[in-house]
Point group: C3
């Protein structure tokens, strides 16, 4: 098991509240996405692109990364999945995706259908070689792993430790439900176990957990409710499949003014009691001790990262 302080030091300060999928074969849609408020953009070579357009999508992604201004938006590319044939090898579609798009130097890659740590290590080792050959800073290209099969959920503890490059675990709920033979519902109990396992493994190794897409594009109150629950469980952000979902997601994954104010009150009261020699104390009928105080400090850190606090 890795040294906790070491992994903590890798914990990305990047905000990834809203992570938008954009079809990799549409320069028009990618261009439009560079003007949206999404924290991260995933230029998709996988499910969002028809099989007969994979090569064109790779060229379009290279052109987009080389010519468009993404501003502060994170530039990610989603690879096609590994073949399910054993032994696992980096060949075929994902290998071509990497070799063609690396020259455009995306910030990182999203690996779909990660089932074992080997899937991540193969990509990471390939990036090691490329970074060394080209003289790029080592470990500069990030990885995000999509968990969207039963095996991925079962192996989540090993997957979360697979590479120093790994920054986030992303739930793919539609594929997962299909693999489980489950029926997707609004309440989502069929993916609750997977969501909990992903948040837990991510936290254990200093990664972010990014929640599933919300497929009903016209139901913004439903999206808001799902964001609120994901936030409650510990997700740092949520994938989006349409521009109109971004505002809701950004708002829900930032701390509320009430949370920020309450956190500031707690931290101040704790400091005063600590200086006076008291440990735990009661505030508004609630016991305040170190864990409660640390949670308050975490709220303030998120608020600062979202520009809501100096």
């Amino acid at each position: 098991m890795a040294d906790k302080d070491f992994t903590d030091s890798l914990r990305p300060e990047l905000l990834r509240r809203s992570v938008l999928f954009v079809p990799g074969d549409s320069l028009r849609k990618i261009n439009k996405a560079t003007e949206l408020a999404a924290d991260s953009l995933i230029l998709d070579l996988e499910d969002g692109v028809a099989f007969n357009r994979k090569a064109e999508a790779r060229r379009t992604v290279v052109e987009a990364l080389g010519t468009l201004d993404f501003g502060r938006r994170e530039r990610l590319v989603r690879l096609n999945p590994f073949s399910t044939l054993a032994p696992v090898q980096l060949e075929g579609l994902p290998a071509e995706d990497l070799s063609v798009t690396l020259e455009a130097r995306p910030a990182g890659y999203v690996i779909p259908k990660v089932e074992t740590p080997e899937h991540i290590r193969l990509v990471s080792d390939y990036l090691d070689r490329v970074e060394a050959e080209r003289g790029w800073p080592s470990n500069s290209i990030r990885l995000l792993a999509m968990i969207e099969t039963a095996r991925g959920v079962l192996n989540i503890g090993q997957i979360a430790q697979a590479s120093r490059r790994l920054e986030a675990l992303v739930l793919g709920a539609e594929d997962l439900a299909n693999d489980l033979g489950a029926r997707r519902t609004r309440a989502g109990w069929e993916v609750f176990y997977a969501r909990s396992a992903i948040v837990t493994a991510a936290a254990a190794f200093g990664l972010q957990a990014i929640d599933m897409v919300f497929v009903d594009l016209n139901d913004l109150p439903g999206l808001e409710e799902e964001c609120r629950f994901a936030r409650q469980l510990g997700f740092a952000g949520k994938t989006a499949i349409h521009p109109r979902q971004i505002e809701v997601i950004n708002r829900l994954f930032a701390p509320s003014p009430e949370e920020i104010e309450q956190a500031m009150r707690l931290v101040q009261a704790f400091a005063a009691h600590q200086a006076a020699g008291a440990g735990a104390f009661e505030l508004d009928g609630k016991m305040v001790d170190l864990p409660v105080m640390r949670a308050a400090e975490s709220v303030l850190a998120k608020a600062r990262a979202a520009g809501l606090l100096n």
Copy 2:
């Protein structure tokens, strides 16, 4: 870990929507069961038979399997559990159950209280020897594993990979709740974690997950609700303890006409868009991409297996 394509090829096409427990010592009840609509019958040598009637139950099961016409119903026998004394050995009640009933060639055995892969391997190795000695086809006798202790839940990932013979994981909720010190309730949150773990491990290794019994024999609406939730989580079927439960279970674990129609619409629309070079698209305000399409195809496959579609 096993090769996924390999385990996928083992995925049973057998429908196991309703799996009925029948006391092994009652030829009358077994005879009646052969006329019911249950997909699988478990002739029970374990909890359904008093200790002083185990030998008689074995003889009755042999007679029933040798003389009654089971039609398409799967003929299963539930063994008595392994002793909890270490080291684990195939001896005592379950060893006698096997040696007496094998001559009647059931389709498979249900092993209760499986806690480690060793429990399954010991039975599987025994069947290997018997199949070889008698010239029966190898791996022709199936195994189903009941998960009904905390250890079984904890070791579920290894248990699911224990043998090529293994076709299903079956939740035993009453025993499990007792082992956990939990209190059984209608909503069932005390077994939700176990249900989720079982569905996940089953899907990861190409097995079926079969849900717990519903003990209130007079509450068919309650049974229907529990079936609906099990189906939503990914269970392929449900154990039954009374004939009157079978119709509800069979109905709830088959796709509904609305689901079948919607799945056909999705598959047709997807094919049209794919031919036109588009990947993901919007249908009725929902994003349709490969995962959504695959889920639709899975619904159609189940409908065909249940005779609801050609």
Copy 3:
């Protein structure tokens, strides 16, 4: 994996319904606690004590254990946590906590923020040496492990097997939620996965599971509801942070008169049917077989331990 019968034989008969945290630096509060109805008292050296009062708290705990009459209340001491620096070593605050307080011979220690079995083994090995040197009975000092980080949840299966001294797993929900980046709510879905994992691992190795604190000191109906759900999941008791919570907890973690009566009816009816050669039978429209009967016997055992039945 340990022999089940062996671990079963360690299963503590001790009632630990209510487990009260008391600040270790307040002789007055400890003195008051010795008159309360809590089953166990945790004299806290960790979060309940300010950093500049740790040494004084150790001296106060030694004085309290040496001079006050605790009656039947279990005398536990909570250590400060291990440093998160690798490699894990028993040094610093928890080492001092142990060396100073051992002379007062508490019944056991509560180890906070247990993340790996190593945390427990280091303390257990230290106690082995001290017991040998001083001629105390071996394994006489108990351990309880607090699970309050994502890593603790992820490693729960190994943690539960770490030492013969280990008697209980205790959920620390506030710290856990902070580590997960989760938001604590009344319904508590953000800690449901951890609660389930803790109950399951505890049951698998013959340990007790003790539930999280309820922080709203003025909401006794809320506490009652949370106790009821914890009890349903399989928790044996609950930590408390205020005297007024004890009565509710003790009441909710003991079987109700209705449960005791129903359990007695079931056990009697089962014995009668078993004598008559029947296995499973129907009582009040519910199937009664061995698992159901065993659950009833468990209720009666708890009732006896709580003094509600002879």
